[in-house]
Every structure is written in structure tokens, then in C-alpha cells.
Symmetry: C2
Subunit: 342 residues, 2 copies
């Protein structure tokens, strides 16, 4: 699944970062990769954050010649989320803040670090677009609220500005599966807890794709030959692909506590935070997404000035935004092009 060269990315040394939790992440590192060339006037930059457990190379399906995110035209920055194993994470932070002692990180914290990379390191003051899938969508909303005058457009797909209660039930179930394995040892494992990772994979499998996806055996399009082949090959394989349980739990915390209302200055008022968004935005849920149902986006769109909700049709559910189904990718890419048009 990975096919990436080790360390084919850069790291921005953030130094000491004080998080919303009050804990300072010392010597924080932001791993990122860029695609394309920054114009002399620094006016062609796009930020495209990663998703739950995703790494920069897993965003590349939406980048390419002739696509909206064309590296011959745009300078695309893919920052890895804190907690994903490349940026500062439980798995790579030295003691004492390693493993289960890694601090809680909010989407506000994530975007604040990314903003420093963009402004301090690259000297960029204006973005053409921020976009992302799933937790990347949450970061997209956060960019729109934290730095409302900085970008021309926003394209959050299959994600939300505030994590819905039912979504939290799902996330808690993933955490319960990860931590039911005795090998987890409250996070002080020496080897990855296999049973917990595989149980979490099985839980995720029911949520990632829709009922109709399984009914129609759409997994055949991914090269799998039976139900069990897909459940083990795709899902268990996904969770064993260099994922770390403490990292997964850290990112779950970030996700579960997602709410643009927690941005300083808004005093937990989510609606006010949404009203502060200034960029042109297309909110793009997937028709049969089981944990980010279109209703969530319909709700938030009431408050975002000029927002359009455009639903990705079809049966791929949440993974409509994962890059594996050409039709969904074309649908998302069309919106990217539309938002980037002069």
C-alpha cells in the first residue's frame, strides 16, 4: 500500500509549542512534503492536510498533471498531522512525553503549527485553497476559522467542523477495540498489540464503506476476491501498515474533540466560529458516509456565509474521499478545479 521512499519528505523544526492542553511539546517537528514550485510572488500555494492515520503519500491520488492540484501550476504543501508517526507523535517523541504520555492535540493546535510552516518557513501570506479528507476536512474548517482572511477557497470533503455525538460513539468503539487487547498494557507495549489493531480494523470496516458497497461487492474493484480476502487484506492490512496504537489513540482524541468553536476567541460557540469563515467554500459530504452523514454538513452550512453543500453521490461512503474510486475522485477533482478557476 505504501510504496514510498523512506524520508522522502522534509521536517520543519517548530521548537517548543504550547498546546491548548497547557502542555508544551518541546522540540516539536512538523513533517511535510511539497509538490510543485512556489511562484516568486508566493501566490500559488495550497495546503492539503492528512487524515486519520494517513501520511503525505496517501494524499497524492488527488495531485497530478491535468488535475486541479496540478504541481506544474500550484505549490501544494501536505503537512502530516501531529500524531501520525511522521510529525511529532507518541511513537517518535523522546521521554518523558512519549507513548501514552504524549499530550492531547487539538485541531487548533494542528493548524497553528501548519500556519507557522506556511508563513515562517515559506513566507506565504495567501493561500489559493485549503482542502482535506475526513480529519483533513476538520483541519480545513479550522484553517477557515483560525485564519479567515488568508485563503481564497476551502474544500472539506467527508468531514465536519464539529464532531457529531454519533461519530464519537464510533470513535470510542475503535478505542475500546484497540485497548481491549491485554498486550496494549496501558500503552507501554514493546510490540504493537496485534489483536487490538485487528479488532479495531474490523470495527472500522463496518463504518468505512456503506451497506450498499458491501452488498454490491465493490471491493472487487480494489482487487480483492472474497469478503474475507477484503476484510483481512484491506482492513487488517491497513491497520498493520506501520500504524502505532498510541498514535492512533492520540489522533482519535484530536478527532473526538473536533469543534471549531474551541478556537480561542469563540468561547465554545461553534455557530459563531462557522459564521466567521470568509473564504468561498464547498462542503462535500459523501451520500452514504456512515460517520459523517450529509446531515452534519447541512447543519453547519446554515451558519457559513455563502456555503454550498455538494454531496458526492454513490455507495463508497466515507471512502469516497479516499482516492480509490475513480468516479469519486473525478467528482472531487471537478470541485477543486472549480474553486481554483480565476
Amino acid at each position: 500500500m505504501t510504496q514510498h521512499t523512506d524520508r522522502d519528505y522534509d521536517v520543519y523544526e517548530l521548537g517548543d509549542v504550547e498546546l491548548q492542553s497547557g502542555i508544551t511539546l518541546r522540540g516539536a517537528r512538523l513533517a511535510y512534503k511539497t509538490y510543485g514550485t512556489l511562484d516568486e510572488d508566493r501566490g500559488n500555494a495550497i495546503v492539503y492536510p492528512t487524515w486519520y492515520s494517513g501520511r503525505h503519500w496517501e494524499n497524492e491520488w488527488l495531485i497530478g498533471e491535468g488535475m486541479g492540484l496540478d504541481p506544474s501550476r500550484y505549490f501544494i504543501i501536505v503537512p502530516n498531522m501531529l500524531g501520525n508517526g511522521l510529525s511529532s507523535s507518541p511513537s517518535n517523541t523522546p521521554p518523558p512525553f512519549n507513548g501514552p504520555r504524549f499530550p492531547n492535540v487539538t485541531f487548533y493546535d494542528q493548524v497553528k503549527c501548519q500556519h507557522r510552516l506556511v508563513t515562517e518557513h515559506f513566507g506565504i501570506e495567501r493561500l489559493e485553497m485549503v482542502l482535506g479528507w475526513s480529519m483533513g476536512a476538520a483541519q480545513t474548517y479550522q484553517w477557515g476559522v483560525s485564519y479567515p482572511d488568508m485563503m481564497r477557497s476551502l474544500l472539506p470533503f467527508c468531514g465536519s467542523a464539529v464532531t457529531a455525538p454519533h461519530n464519537k460513539v464510533f470513535l470510542d468503539s475503535v478505542a475500546a477495540a484497540l485497548t481491549a487487547d491485554a498486550a496494549w498494557q496501558s500503552g507501554w507495549y514493546r510490540e504493537q498489540p496485534q489483536l487490538g489493531l485487528r479488532a479495531a480494523a474490523r470495527v472500522y470496516a463496518g463504518w468505512g464503506f456503506s451497506q450498499a458497497f458491501y452488498w454490491q461487492e465493490e471491493w472487487r474493484k480494489l482487487g480483492f476476491t472474497s469478503y474475507d480476502d477484503f476484510l483481512v487484506g484491506f482492513w487488517e492490512g491497513f491497520f498493520l501498515d506501520d500504524r502505532d496504537v498510541n498514535n492512533l489513540l492520540t489522533m482519535l482524541w484530536t478527532w473526538k474533540h473536533g469543534d471549531v468553536g474551541n478556537t480561542p476567541g469563540f468561547d465554545a460557540d461553534t455557530e459563531a466560529a462557522l459564521r466567521s469563515i470568509r473564504a468561498r467554500i464547498i462542503q462535500m459530504p459523501a451520500e452514504k458516509d456512515l460517520y459523517f452523514p450529509p446531515e452534519d454538513e447541512q447543519w453547519s452550512s446554515q451558519f457559513i456565509p455563502g456555503s454550498e453543500v455538494r454531496v458526492i453521490p454513490g455507495v463508497w461512503g466515507h471512502f469516497a474521499g479516499g482516492g480509490a474510486n475513480p468516479e469519486d475522485t473525478a467528482f472531487i477533482d471537478a470541485a477543486v478545479k472549480e474553486l481554483l478557476a480565476p
Copy 2:
């Protein structure tokens, strides 16, 4: 939750029952309870099987004076599923077929045993109705296929005639959570594995009710005061309420392998089995049921002669059929009355 008197039910001694698996369940016992009085002509009987982990007293919400299932008028038999802890189950079968060695049981097996109770013990040849929720719905379909000329009407609610692939993904995730706990010990535990039961409860919590149920905090109607109060109080409490992990795994197997096409004589032809149903039937999925979506019932209804699909509206999802929401109960009860009308 239970409030039942111990042993307020009867047991029919089935003797040796050869199951579809080829294993003979020796000294099999069918626990059941009846409500009302059997007419002299034995023409007022109704069969109302239980659901996943449910016991006869958990069916009683649909039985009562003035309701369709009025015990002053009908003789209502509630047979407990094999595997539910009252009828023969892993938890109450003597060695060597106890615990994880308890044989696999199909819906065909279940209904065959129930049919013996109805005919041999009560001498009933004709039923006014068979109905049930969830796995009870699957047994309802099975009754219609196994004994097509025996009942006047069928009312399966929030369940299906064949378990859909996505439903299996969900069931496998519950099993993965139950068995991720080292205390499970491949089923040879001496005490119930707490972590596994609680993890399974957390997984179930995301599926039992809809996204909108959580968004609207409908759990307040059940007397819970916060998200966590509901997740622990209702869901973990549910799985700790005298449930046994081997029993739960046995019933999961039954559910996962649900398919009326597996009835002898149909040679795995589900559509032919559905076409053989003769009784008047209302198929009643719930609008936002996440594991038995209405599409499943729309599909099967194509093959059932004269079937009507009538969707339970609202946000309670699968638990629309669980008896806790008065509006949903009234909706189901109206269909019971309609089908029982002369």
C-alpha cells in the same frame, strides 16, 4: 432492566435434536413463556421469537390489554432462541458440548424446534401470526418458508430474510471485540471477560441507534443524563445483564449465517425460498436502521408474493423495534392489529 422472576417460564424437553451442522444436541431444552389462553379449537395462537441476547420478558412490551397482542384474546408463545442462556446454550449445556463446543445453530434449526413445541406440545396446527424483532424477524421469515401454509400472517420488523454482507461486517466486529480480551481464553473463561463485553457494547452502541438519535440526544427519553451516562449505563449495562460471551458468539453465528435459502429443499436459492412464502406479510424495516437498512427489505420484497414494505419512520434506528420508544411501538402495534383483523 430485567425485573423478572427467576424461572417464570416453562421448558419443553426436545430430546435429541439433529442440527443442520450434523451435530446432535442431546437433551435439548426449549425455554418459553405463554401469554393468554389457548382456545378450545386452538385457533388463536401467535408465535413471537426472541432476538439477539433477548429473553422472553424482553418481548413483553408489545403484549398487553388493548394491544394487538392482547392476551385476553390471543395465546402468545414466546420461545427463547437456542443460545440465549435459557434455552439450550453454551452456558447451560453439560460437557462435552458446553462453552465454545456448543454446536452451530441455524435459523432453520431454531424454527424446527419451535414448531415441535407448537405442534407436539400444544397441538396447534394453525397460527394467526408469527412476528419478531431483529433476529426474531429472521425467525419470522424462516417460519414463513419452513411452514408456509401454517400461518395467516407474518410481521418481521427490523430484520431480514438473509443477512446482508455489511451486516456481517458489523457482526464480525462485535465478535472481534468480544474475543480481543485475553480473559476470553478461547471461550474457556471462568468469569465473563469484562473488557471484551464492554468493548462489544461500545461497538454495538454505534449501530443500535442512528446518527440523528445521538445528535438529538434522544437517550434523554430513556432517563440518561449525558453521553457517557448512556454509553456506560445503557450499553455496557446491557452487555453485563447476565449475558455470556459464548452465548453471544453462538447467536452471532446464527445471525451471520441467516439465509432462508438454506432451508432444505431450496438448495441455497434465497429467491426461491422467498417466493414460497404464502402468508400475508408486512415487512417493517426502520428508516434509519444502520445494519438492517430498508434497502434489504425492498430487495427481498420483490420475491415475496403480495408483500408490503412499511418503513417505521423516525430516528431510533434499529432500536425502533426494541420497545423503548412509544411512537415506534404504536406504529408496530398498528400493523399487528391490521394483520390480526378478521
